[in-house]
Symmetry: C2
Subunit: 177 residues, 2 copies
């Protein structure tokens, strides 16, 4: 798929998945897309774990309790480290967000659908922390997001957004020319 | 270009640009790619200003003082609003980071080069705030990043990164199979 088609055609999916495996070759392409994202001062603060073992997926989905997690045949867990880029500044949120967006594009390009689950992972239920324990992730990493992957069993709906001219301008705030 | 070529071929560029304009059609494609990024709870916290007026570019570059800014023929300024997604949570950093990554991919796909300038914009010199005043941006928005755009006059260098197996694993932390 070409870049612009992929970017404009990607939407979040929160429904059930078909029971079809995601080949390792595809998972590697998705992970590589994540690693290819830029990072502040090239600190590479993002690490990734792809899960395709049904037993581990089952353990994770019992923690998460979402239709996508219960039916997906693969999932990517996003880990971050709060590494200082310079002085007192860290860009780890920016780093993992760019990596996630690259992976969402890769997932869509390969014919799968996903959703950026971050609020749930890092909310008061500490779901990300509990997932982290299943996966043996050390304490200096934080599991901040998971991306279920699979072929959607239902329709992927477009989300409504504001008009272009309400969010994008030329040469000054609110200027449409 | 196909999605994976674009993702793997994009690198930051900090050198001089050729004196060649960036057509409005291309700027609109780049802006649209930014708006197409997902946002937490679809709050659409990111807004964008493309600058291609030489007089305004000159005002901005006098604040920024970087080779890219002094020689680029277009620039995108990224604005964010700290809108609550739910309870006390905001995802505006994630939102604008995903939008920036989409725009960097679009920029590369169209044959230009750029760099994610955020630390400079939001550092102690308040460069983003001063740029914001030139562009008439209200106080409830924050200019957090600018992306110079142009055809590079010099080589775009690949950055060295850690090996795949040092950052991406399968079914558990550090597991390479």
């Amino acid at each position: 798929m070409n870049t612009f088609e992929t970017i404009s055609g990607r939407f979040s999916y929160r429904g059930a998945y078909q029971n079809a495996p995601v080949p390792r070759e595809h998972l590697k392409m998705i992970l590589q897309a994540g690693l290819d994202a830029p990072s502040g001062c090239n600190k590479q603060t993002t690490s990734l774990i792809a899960v395709d073992d049904p037993a581990i997926l089952s353990q994770l989905s019992s923690i998460i309790n979402a239709t996508t997690a219960k039916t997906c045949t693969a999932m990517i867990c996003v880990l971050t480290q709060r590494i200082i880029a310079y002085e007192d500044r860290t860009f780890n949120i920016q780093d993992y967000s760019a990596a996630i967006e690259n992976m969402l594009l890769a997932i869509h390009d390969l014919g799968y659908a996903s959703c950026w689950y971050e609020g749930r992972a890092t909310g008061p239920d500490k779901i990300g922390y509990r997932m982290q324990q299943v996966l043996g992730v050390p304490e200096d990493y934080e599991l901040v997001c998971f991306l279920p992957i699979g072929i959607p069993a239902g329709p992927v709906k477009r989300v409504d957004k504001k008009a272009f001219e309400d969010r994008a301008w030329f040469n000054g705030f609110g200027k449409t020319e």
